[in-house]
Symmetry: C2
């Protein structure tokens, strides 16, 4: 049996993504280079440039790979019927990731890179941010239909109110990210969004 | 009368700050350089390096200069007694700034640079973020004492809920930044923080 080029190619691809993710955590985004990724992955630079235009693009695919390729068709936020509990579960998991040093630096790098790289920002929006936002919208829409949220609530504003404070606190290092913080955030934000909340 | 070295020095300093601010808006942060700032300001590179360790540090001082040196001793958020109206005034002014192309690029540069530069982050926290946060806390504390906010409300969480969604939407280009958005954000967030809001 001869070597399978498709399989060899996939092995290189995985090695490159793993190398990019590990390296950015070790040296930071500024010092991350295609050369460094190639050396760590044991491939030539040209192999990387054949598939990706920039180190930011490699890093983004490394993220998607880590998340199992981004949200799949059957992906969904938990729905136990208790919106507050479900949101606390989701945001607590996010906080655990943000507090994990293995994730912190690569995620900061990606989040700052998309600010300056329009092409990467478009890929990020299309493949990660918009699908995730649709999952959040879907869970909140179910709560709205169950009468748990005000009928005229703008779902994008609701998403901003639940996720924005957390992500902004993380990016600006504005305070500790704890499960207690998540619980207070979800309770206070939902208070303002309930059917019949004081206007 | 001989030339006044202190005045000449201050003139150079102002020229450098203006050049840094203008240039980052024109070429973006990645292409901003000490050389470029020096050429635009009509000074030598060494003059810049005598006062600042990095282009990020120059840009930060350019911001502070623009804001009149950062929040002064008598700075305060408006207090008409109507918390919602006051917050809408403040956040609408912020939205107008964020929508101004002259401010957008320099502010993005500063906000992403502090993520990667610990020294700049410390200066930013000490000279801008913490004083601003104290002004916000003071305004919210007055509302709490007037019984307009829940007695057990955490003021830092309240600040995150009011400013976090806006700043996160701006950084992630997650949607339009309008006065209507600000009004809905303030109303919904405050709903959840009122005395006697549903728990």
């Amino acid at each position: 049996m001869t070597a399978n080029p498709a399989r060899r190619s996939e092995t290189s691809r995985q090695a490159i993504l793993t190398a990019a993710f590990d390296l950015v955590g070790e040296v930071g985004y500024a010092k991350l280079s295609i050369e460094g990724i190639a050396a760590r992955a044991g491939v030539g630079k040209q192999t990387i440039y054949r598939w990706w235009p920039s180190k930011g693009a490699v890093l983004f695919d490394a993220f998607l790979a880590l998340m199992g390729g981004g949200p799949g068709d059957d992906a969904a936020l938990p729905d136990t019927g208790d919106l507050a509990a479900d949101l606390k579960t989701v945001l607590s998991a996010t906080v655990d990731e943000l507090n994990d040093p293995r994730f912190d630096e690569p995620m900061r790098a990606l989040n700052t890179e998309i600010v300056h790289d329009a092409e990467l920002a478009a890929a990020y929006a299309e493949r990660l941010d918009l699908p995730m936002r649709e999952l959040k919208r879907k869970r909140l829409r179910a709560a709205k239909e169950a009468g748990q949220l005000a009928a005229d609530l703008d779902l994008d504003l609701a998403i901003d109110l639940l996720w924005g404070p957390l992500l902004n606190r993380w990016m600006q290092r504005g305070g500790p990210l704890t499960h207690e913080y998540v619980n207070a955030l979800v309770d206070t934000a939902l208070n303002g969004m309930r059917q019949g909340a004081p206007g």
